[in-house]
Symmetry: C2
Subunit: 339 residues, 2 copies
């Protein structure tokens, strides 16, 4: 039996990117006529069907849910998976987890593989590269075929589907307000470039709190890293050149690394400098001092995502109604700030 | 199209465990004749084939590798996945990760799902429940059908396949020796029950080092927890009743939690008490003080596992030759011990 040809196969064979193949098959104007013709001819020759991805037919229930997440190094995603599993298992569903590792190509490949009859629907958080490219054809393909998708945390307005997020702007706002209330004046933000939806919203919340309190927004105090990985050199350089009395970070790894840096300089936390991070994970709990955090309620988010997905999978209702659930973040006060 | 019936379906329908179904279909003497007959009749009626699990035929390459791991909260498994992805992607393979969450049932269900035509072979680390039950029928099923399997870290001698481990006994031995060299006399071990293969080997290494140095082995200084989860109450109770000057822990979460506990009691690390943990992960790196660890070389382990698996997948050699690769652990000295 000859395996069906996939986007990945076409891309490899014609030495173009998966994104190019996907766009060419959609007749996108971004792709040159020559390339489009070549790709379309090849796809026709090998009998590629754009709905390969949707081979999991609606009436053939697998009782499996596909989860595609960008990374597992961030404890947040671990907690979301736990929540998904909790709800899904109770309903008799099994959960299969794939990692895109922040790569657009891997996200597409994983979706193709899972949609090949293995699952009833997707729960996803977008890779940073997908958000950067703003290429959502692989998601459109799936939703157009009627396969339910729930997006959580890193979402896009380009796709009509159910979504679950926390109010990231509010989370950053609450954290920054707390630091201001405790008398901090030079509050830094360590985040990533704005293409990442959550970082953008958090940066807005930080700015809003400073503006409201009539504190100066000093752009030099906002460090935008290119990825969610710890860029040790940039963070080190930031603390060597900026004088700050509080720091808000968009993930816990940035925070604990920054705390170590200032402790090496002989500063005392929270006497000389306070820290708040996003995500209430193990690093935050067991850091020294333990970290004050914006809890993202990952487990809750996972449970709600699974509930929304399974409701759609089991619904006989042909009508399409999508909702976006916005959870409220909570500030968990520990020892990296005053109480 | 009617989906194929699975072990899980039979178990649910007859209200018995998956393990019972699996054993009954193998005609195991552990299962009563009555139950066996019922299960076998049901399986026949619904046309269950024990080799459902092996539907991914040898000649139908998917270029996908299935990875089944017990947990992602331990950074070690994150690093192994990174290594697997690195090697596999370079060879044009895609990696799909499933979590057994330390559950035997989930391990079986995930294997059934993946083996249903999605993958060319498995890379696995056994769930604690599987090691506790010593039930490996699901693995035998797969290997007997000629689907390549590589076991890493948590392995069993019951299955003939390629294996990759670090020398856990040596790792614990080296760590304990180091503590003894630094003048420590009352060295504690925080581990799990011996059913977990790695914990057993590490406990042996700890004992060996103490014996060699003619130090007393005080059983009260060995805390055996029932799982790899942090049992905060037992650890707290342990430090309240035992007077120790050094601690070796079998994972980094146990270690950082224990360090926090003794710091709360006002002890200074490493002046009053030293700590060494297994796994060189983020928690170890960013703890305060940073943690001296037995590095398990997870990424290397992942790369070797992927290489062994892909070699088997692509080999036309019908002969079965299996090897076990044993990696040497390394001691990474940081600030939770003297240098």
């Amino acid at each position: 039996m000859k395996a069906k040809i996939t986007l990945k196969d076409i891309a490899r064979e014609l030495e173009v990117s998966i994104s190019t193949v996907s766009k060419a098959l959609k007749n996108s104007e971004e792709i040159s006529r020559d390339t489009k013709e070549k790709i379309q001819a090849f796809a026709k020759l090998y009998n590629y069907k754009p709905n390969n991805i949707a081979i999991s037919l609606k009436n053939k229930r697998t009782k499996n849910i596909g989860v595609v997440i960008p990374a597992i190094v961030h404890h947040f995603f671990t907690t979301v998976i736990r929540g998904i599993e909790k709800y899904a298992n109770a309903k008799g569903y099994n959960v299969i987890v794939c990692l895109s590792e922040e790569s657009f190509d891997k996200e597409v490949i994983n979706m193709e593989m899972l949609a090949n009859g293995s699952i009833d629907g997707f729960i996803m958080s977008l890779s940073s590269e997908t958000q950067q490219k703003e290429d959502y054809n692989h998601l459109k393909e799936v939703t157009e075929q009627g396969i339910p998708v729930v997006l959580f945390d890193r979402i896009t307005n380009e796709i009509d589907c159910d979504k679950v997020v926390i109010d990231d702007q509010l989370g950053a706002y609450m954290a920054t307000k707390k630091l201001i209330e405790q008398g901090r004046k030079k509050i830094a933000l360590i985040t990533t470039d704005d293409y990442l939806s959550v970082s953008k919203a958090r940066t807005e919340g930080y700015r809003k709190a400073l503006l409201e309190s009539e504190l100066e927004i000093n752009e030099a105090r906002i460090l935008k890293l290119s990825t969610m990985e710890v860029d040790e050199k940039s963070i080190r350089n930031f603390f060597n050149t900026q004088e700050v009395d509080a720091v808000l970070c968009v993930n816990e790894i940035f925070t604990v690394f920054s705390m170590r840096l200032v402790q090496e300089k002989g500063l005392s936390i929270p006497k000389d400098i306070s820290f708040i991070g996003f995500t209430d994970g193990l690093l935050s709990k067991y850091a020294n001092p333990s970290l004050t955090v914006v809890a993202q309620h990952g487990e809750k988010m996972g449970e709600i995502s699974a509930q929304m997905l399974i409701d759609k999978v089991e619904s006989d209702d042909g009508e399409e109604r999508f909702q976006t659930k916005i959870l409220e973040p909570t500030l968990v006060i520990r020892d990296s700030t005053f109480n």
